[in-house]
């Protein structure tokens, strides 16, 4: 079994329901996110549009975070999920430095690394991840990539514009996007101009260690 995710960006309307569901389900602390929806505005007024891109851990087949973790706190489980053992983590932030997708953060409450686990605890109880359940338009498609009859496999078969983030990194992500353009997947394809963010005053909790 190899579990994977696909987000159909044609359907996503940026409601952030998945983001909130994830926060509640996993008790993600203030100022950190396992899953977040990025907004990018494209074009010049009046010809403008807003794009939405849910971002979460890609559960790579060749995960840099798993490789660099000195204590195997980040590890694969048999269904392909890259899971994390917070009791074992020493908080070296090697995984934070290694993840090309910026999907790993240091939990300010436990001072350990954390990230999306595809809701591994729910899957163990035969439930879908919280974000899948919350999505009002079924933009999140989750399932077994090894099973050609699963919804996600069929979706990949039926759509030609299936992409992953940063394929050049050789990580082989198990997280796919349909309908994604360069502005959705490439962080360098959009500008980050001060004052343009919808929420500029975001509260961040202090972390241990030393950060600038």
């Amino acid at each position: 079994m190899q579990l994977g995710f696909l987000v159909d960006l044609h359907l996503c309307m940026g409601c952030k329901g998945c983001e909130i569901a994830c926060k509640v389900e996993n008790e993600v602390p203030l100022s950190t996110w396992r899953l977040r929806v990025k907004y990018v505005d494209v074009g010049t007024f009046p010809e403008t549009k807003r794009t939405f891109t849910p971002l979460r851990c890609n559960h790579c087949e060749n995960a840099p975070c798993e490789r660099i973790c000195p204590v195997s706190a980040l590890h694969y489980i048999e269904n392909g999920i890259v899971n994390i053992d917070k009791e074992r983590c020493i908080g070296c932030a090697g995984c934070v430095m290694a993840c090309p997708y910026g999907a790993i953060y240091i939990d300010p409450e436990t001072q350990t690394a954390d990230k999306c686990t595809y809701c591994a605890h729910r899957i163990a109880s035969s439930m879908m991840p919280a974000c899948v359940v919350a999505c009002p338009v079924e933009a999140n498609i989750f399932g077994d990539l090894d099973d050609p009859t699963s919804n996600i496999s069929k979706y990949i078969q039926d759509h030609r514009d299936v992409r992953v983030r940063k394929p050049e990194k050789g990580t082989n992500p198990h997280h796919f996007y349909v309908g994604a353009g360069e502005v959705n997947l490439n962080p360098l394809a959009s500008q980050r101009i001060e004052g343009y963010n919808l929420f500029d005053k975001i509260t961040t909790l202090p972390l241990g260690g030393h950060h600038e």
Partner: protein, 299 residues
């Protein structure tokens, strides 16, 4: 391509909450800097043994003690940078051998243990055993110096850090700071000829390291848009441009010039000044190169 698409799309991020910019800050710079001096001194002591063992007298134990202190500074800052420092023992009880962090922690621990043993041998005046052990600890100093480059290479998100260049830079940092430290430590115990020998190592290390940095500065971005974006921080009005050039001048250009002048004028003072500048400048150079890849947005 991205540059063209930016102009075409006018795409602007209007909602995103990326990670804090710099996760590995000056604690990690201290780690790399102190380790360079610690292992560099061992390299230089071994060279001294091979070149002129007569001048080792009075330098064996003192050099080992200074190296031991810097290696402990390195370990202290490594520990202090952990968010869960009291779980450091997990590295020894749950080791994950694909991680350069694990391999490095083990090697550095053995290295420091060997240094402690050599200091005891030094106090007991067991010169022969000391010199035999010096060969083995010099061999171990090579991977201990290199493993940080392995960590940087495993940090896949940071395109700037490539194993090929970082490993050479780590060795050069060790020979630069090690030669500088032994020039200062040796004082009157070293002959002028030996000092000039270490001065030559200092000057050549500075030259090679400078060439590599300039190669990356000028050509690094030509094959990767990520490296282009990262290097923008040290070019033009970049946030770290001034600090970058201060580092290059203080660590490499001025010491090279001073080493050359000291050879012409046979001045030990100029050589000592070159040594001090190289040690100070190395910290700045390492810090800039550590921080700038972390300023790149990943999402």
């Amino acid at each position: 391509m991205i540059h063209e698409s930016l102009a075409a799309t006018q795409a602007v991020v209007t909602l995103d909450v990326p990670l804090p910019d710099v996760f590995w800050g000056w604690f990690v710079t201290m780690n790399m800097w102190a380790k360079s001096i610690g292992t560099g001194l061992i390299f230089m002591l071994f060279l001294l043994l091979r070149k002129n063992s007569g001048e080792m007298k009075g330098l064996r134990t003192s050099t080992l003690i200074v190296s031991f202190i810097f290696m402990n500074v390195f370990l202290l800052f490594t520990l202090a940078d952990l968010h869960q420092p009291f779980r450091m023992w997990h590295i020894f009880f749950y080791p994950h051998w694909t991680s350069a962090i694990t391999v490095g922690a083990w090697m550095a621990t053995i290295f420091v243990g060997l240094e402690f043993l050599m200091i005891i041998l030094g106090f007991q005046k067991k010169t022969e055993s000391f010199d035999k052990l010096l060969f083995w600890i010099t061999l171990l100093a090579i991977p201990v110096t290199l493993y940080t480059a392995g960590i940087m290479a495993e940090a896949s998100a940071r395109e700037l850090w490539q194993m090929s260049t970082e490993s050479v830079q780590m060795i050069l940092a060790a020979t630069l700071s090690g030669s500088a430290a032994i020039i200062l430590l040796g004082g009157s115990k070293l002959s002028d000829e030996t000092k000039q020998f270490f001065g030559a190592i200092l000057g050549l290390s500075a030259l090679l390291a400078f060439i590599i940095y300039m190669s990356e500065y000028i050509f690094g971005g030509m094959k990767s848009e990520e490296v282009t974006a990262i290097l923008a921080h040290v070019k033009g009005d970049g946030e770290y441009a001034t600090m970058f050039w201060i580092g290059q001048w203080v660590a490499y250009l001025l010491p090279m010039l001073l080493v050359a002048l000291s050879r012409v004028s046979k001045s030990n003072s100029l050589l000592s000044l070159a040594a001090i500048l190289a040690i100070v400048g190395l910290w700045v150079v390492k810090h800039v190169w550590l921080v700038i890849p972390q300023l790149l947005p990943l999402s």
